[in-house]
């Protein structure tokens, strides 16, 4: 239960920040992809830089999770074909909708109901992908994702 509360709280800060930085505006995403403004790249770059330092400090100090008590750690995933093909298909939807799974949730929270059809499509997509994926791929994928903590 505490883990879920942590997720909820992290999501609230994440969603608030996405909305405040206007990443919930499809026009901002389209402008980023047209390389008209560096704003979104700078947000993502600085987020990755801060997180990269932070998680390494936690790991180096042998930190234990405040809620679960487990040691902070992760394993890395090796690239496979599905990372490329899946991401290309993802990019198609991202470019057209000008939003992606995180921002569209914050968009709906803001009362912008134009995000609802995107979320419905996402739910259908994740369900159908699992139905269509070959069995052995699914199992290998689940092991890899669990190992990477994704």
């Amino acid at each position: 239960m505490k883990t879920k509360a942590t997720g909820l709280l992290g999501g609230v800060v994440f969603g608030f920040t996405l909305a405040w930085a206007r990443l919930t505006d499809p026009r901002v995403i389209r402008d980023m992809l047209l390389l008209n403004e560096p704003h979104v790249f700078l947000i993502m770059g600085s987020a990755v830089a801060i997180a990269a330092i932070g998680v390494r400090v936690l790991k180096a100090r042998g930190a234990r999770c405040l809620v679960t008590g487990e040691a902070v750690g992760w394993s890395l995933e090796r690239p496979a074909t599905r990372h490329v093909t899946g991401s290309m298909l993802f990019a198609l939807g991202w470019t057209v909708a000008g939003t992606c799974p995180g921002p569209v949730a914050a968009m709906i929270g803001e009362g912008r109901l134009v995000g609802v059809p995107v979320a419905v499509g996402l739910l259908a997509g994740v369900t159908l992908q699992r139905m269509l994926a070959p069995r052995k791929d699914v199992e290998a994928h689940m092991r890899a994702a669990a190992a990477a903590g994704l």
Binding site: K4, T6, G7, L9, G10, G11, V13, G15, F16, T17, A19, W20, A21, T24, R30, L33, L34, I43, G45, S46, V48, I50, A51, A52, V55, L58, L66, A71, L76, E77, R78, P79, R82, H83, L89, F90, A91, L92, G93, T95, A97, G98, P101, G102, A105, A106, M107, G109, E110, R112, P117, A119, G121, L122, L123, A124, G125, V126, T127, L150
Partner: protein
């Protein structure tokens, strides 16, 4: 309270801190896609909602909190100029776009937040490949689309 768009040098570090905080408290990644998978499996298989679904619910609440506080007067974006104006056609395009993202991101094991932020910060080679692929493809597609429709770049 009047505050404009959050500048990148505040928003970026805030997102970075969320990633570190989730790692420090629960050793879990920040990734929105897992929430959709969690919700979809809850609907189709009656599984219990876990961390990912609560994270996704939090994102919705965060967006609502923004709207109720400092975002009360923020402009409301629509897809005018980005997608065809016909409402039914627009609805169809958005569902299909969401569907493509759902299939693609699940195959790739993550989306912009899971691979692009969390996986990149952990230095996961799969995430670096995924993020380079979706950024490269999306930048290319956006330019092709703008060229085809005659929009100014």
């Amino acid at each position: 309270m009047v505050l404009g768009r959050c500048p990148w040098y505040i928003a970026g570090p805030m997102l970075g801190v969320v990633i570190v905080a989730l790692r420090a408290t629960a050793n879990r990644p920040l990734g929105a896609l897992g929430g959709y998978i969690d919700v979809a499996e809850h609907i189709t298989r009656r599984s219990r909602l876990g961390f990912s679904a609560f994270l996704l619910a939090g994102i919705v609440i965060g967006g609502a909190l923004f709207r109720l506080t400092i975002g009360a007067s923020s402009p409301s974006p629509s897809y005018s100029g980005l997608l065809p104006a016909d409402p039914i056609l627009q609805l169809g395009i958005l569902v299909v776009a969401g569907f493509a993202m759902g299939v693609g991101a699940r195959a790739a094991g993550g989306c912009t937040s899971g691979h692009g932020l969390t996986g990149m910060s952990l230095g996961s080679p799969a995430s670096i490949v995924a993020a380079m692929t979706f950024f490269g493809t999306a930048v290319w597609l956006a330019h092709v689309w703008a060229w085809l429709t005659g929009a100014s770049l």
